[in-house]
């Protein structure tokens, strides 16, 4: 019977093209609007590293103390980043399977080809653990070694884009790069890698590109490379000079630990608290230990990566979809009531309520499917429009993948069928007897 109903649905839709187009347009516009926002929302809320998001932890330590007279209030949010002192203290504790302190920096790159002008390269100073921790894919070479970390070696891992730009995409391992007038040896070239959002450092450009060069943290500190990222300082005085700044309570480092099991995480929490308590004993902190260890998902939630605005936008666009569906429902009702005669005749010829119900519901489903396709086109157009409108940083959010397509069409069919339930119910309850009397 399905193919029969489908055939009837297509005939019926062809019969009143204007009404059909109106219904499809109503659904298409609603679906387009809601799916555009949902796509962005989903990308925002996506897990950037699904198979490890429960094993990677961002570390937070309160080195500023409560804002009001020694009492911790719920408003006292922990700093996003840690100070150099605390970062080093934790690195030396060696309490995690892998751990790294890092910060965002950069330099001027003088290309080997003298015809090219030097250009700015955003970089990340980190430890070699960074690469296996965050499952960074390599195209050529490997991360640098632990000895390189300890020996402050002038080595670099570069992004695929930078390798394309400077070395024409060839294997550049072993080649030399001149960064800020120092020579660095390339040990590895990354493959395409773009966590969305860039969870390991949410300070600048959470949806932006990854850094183009990675160098040992120890080397960057020795070269006194300043941060390109956020640098927040407490009210405490900062001594002058690089050393003064480095050993101040200013926070500009991200600290991550890899803790494979819940027990590991528990142990690490303990270590973290002990560390803070120790700092209190030593007189550096004048408050009880206040630390946090959050895995990737908790971290993203705490940092409000999905903004309230995005949530509200999704809500608004789905309300709009609801209005569109109510509209389509009204049109369907009008259409079905206009066809009451045919339905009455079918009933008189032996169709039971279920048969009429099935026929009308499939018709609603077909409208939903067509509306879904229109909605898909509008979603694609909407995302393209947003891409043009928004900064380049957010283009990663406007990707329309296989799932988005499925969800769009599926939502349209299901929502329209649901909206079709009432008109269909009305259709099934049309009194066939009216047919004989209305002559």
């Amino acid at each position: 019977m399905f193919s029969y109903y489908l055939n009837l649905a297509l005939r019926s839709l062809k019969r009143n093209v204007v009404l059909t187009m109106l219904m499809i347009a109503a659904i298409g516009v609603g679906i387009g609007a809601s799916m555009t926002t949902l796509t962005i929302f989903r990308a925002m809320a996506a897990d950037p590293i699904p198979n490890k998001s429960r094993q990677l932890f961002a570390v937070q330590i309160d080195n500023w103390g409560p804002s009001k007279s020694g009492v911790q209030t719920p408003d006292d949010k922990l700093q996003q980043q840690v100070s150099y002192t605390d970062a080093m203290g934790l690195m030396n504790a060696h309490a995690a399977l892998r751990q790294t302190v890092m910060y965002s920096t950069g330099f001027a790159l003088s290309p080997p080809n003298p015809n090219l002008r030097p250009f700015q390269v955003p970089a990340r100073a980190t430890y070699m653990d960074f690469f296996p921790m965050f499952e960074v894919p390599f195209r050529f070479g490997t991360p640098w070694t632990r000895e390189d970390d300890e020996g402050r070696a002038p080595v670099a891992v570069i992004s695929r884009e930078l390798n394309d730009k400077v070395f024409g995409g060839a294997n550049s391992v072993g080649k030399t790069l001149n960064l800020d007038k120092h020579d660095y040896r390339v040990v590895g070239v990354l493959d395409r890698w773009q966590p969305v959002p860039k969870f390991y450092d949410l300070n600048n450009n959470q949806y932006g590109e990854i850094e183009q060069a990675f160098i040992p943290f120890t080397r960057a500190i020795e070269n006194q490379m300043t941060t390109w990222g956020n640098n927040n300082c407490s009210r405490d005085a900062v001594a002058p000079g690089w050393e003064g700044h480095l050993h101040s309570e200013c926070v500009w480092f991200q600290f991550w630990a890899e803790l494979p099991t819940a027990a590991d995480a528990e142990r690490y929490r303990y270590v973290l608290n002990n560390y803070a308590a120790e700092q209190q004993r030593l007189g550096r902190f004048h408050w009880a230990a206040h630390t946090r260890l959050r895995d990737v998902r908790e971290w993203l939630a705490d940092q409000h990566v999905v903004t309230d605005e995005a949530r509200i936008l999704v809500l608004v666009s789905f309300s709009f979809l609801l209005v569109c569906l109510l509209n389509a429902m009204g049109l369907m009702l009008a259409k079905i009531m206009g066809r009451a005669g045919d339905i009455g005749v079918r009933r008189a010829l032996g169709a039971n309520r279920r048969a009429i119900f099935g026929q009308c519901l499939i018709e609603a489903g077909v409208i939903g499917f067509a509306g879904g396709l229109v909605g898909l086109a509008l979603t694609a157009a909407g995302l393209l429009g947003l891409r043009a409108l928004l900064s380049e940083q957010t283009t990663r959010l406007t990707h329309l993948g296989f799932w988005e397509v499925g969800i769009t069409v599926g939502t349209a069919v299901i929502a329209t069928t649901l909206a079709g339930l009432y008109p269909t119910w009305r259709a099934a309850h049309i009194q066939p007897a009216w047919q004989l009397k209305a002559q």
């Binding site: 019977m1 029969y4 009837l8 005939r11 019926s12 019969r15 005669g341 045919d342 005749v345 079918r346 009933r347 008189a348 010829l349 032996g350 169709a351 039971n352 309520r353 279920r354 048969a355 009194q431 066939p432 007897a433 047919q435 004989l436 009397k437 002559q439």
Partner: protein, 235 residues
Amino acid sequence: MLKMTHLSKAYRTEVVETFALRDFSIHVREGEFVAVTGPSGSGKTTFLTIAGLLEEFSGGEYQLDGANVRGLNDNQRSKLRNEKIGFIFQAFNLIADLNVQDNIDVPLRYRGFNGAERRRRIQEALGRVGLSARSRHYPAELSGGQQQRVAIARALAGSPRLLLADEPTGNLDTQMARGVMDLLEELHRDGATIVMVTHDPELAVRAQREVHIVDGQVVDMAPQPRLVEAAQAGS
């Protein structure tokens, strides 16, 4: 075939309750051709819709083909309607989107026949009403008389036991009406049980028996051979 005893049908609106049928009794035997006449508003159509299981009744008994139909659910009523009853309407009521053969196909689909069986029945029914050549025409492309023949073919295709016709010639001119009437008589000769509502006394006398309804009640159920003889004598 069709037996109603002391049947009543009330229509309730907010203010009044009108009895379209009151203490209504009728017995149509297998193979009979009955004409139902009566003034406008007397309850003829109401009788037909109840007989055809399109409406429920308020009181009394109704036996269709030996089975009591009181209390049947929608499914059961639809199935009975589909298998046992063929409807012919005054306004033909063909489905405009469907061509002739697809219109005839409608009750056969609900019956659940397979494709071959449906095609066979459609061809046979079309042959019966002499419209085999028009199977792919749409209703709008046919004359009124042709449309009514298609409607009759549709009513026949499922081989129902009972044909119910509500003023089947009401929308046709005399010429076409005569053709449709001839067809009904032919079907009757081949064994169909027919109940036909008509305003036209000339058509009524061509039935075996006339039932006159006034104010929701059968006035005279006696066979009226005298009238038939008179009509035959007059022609």
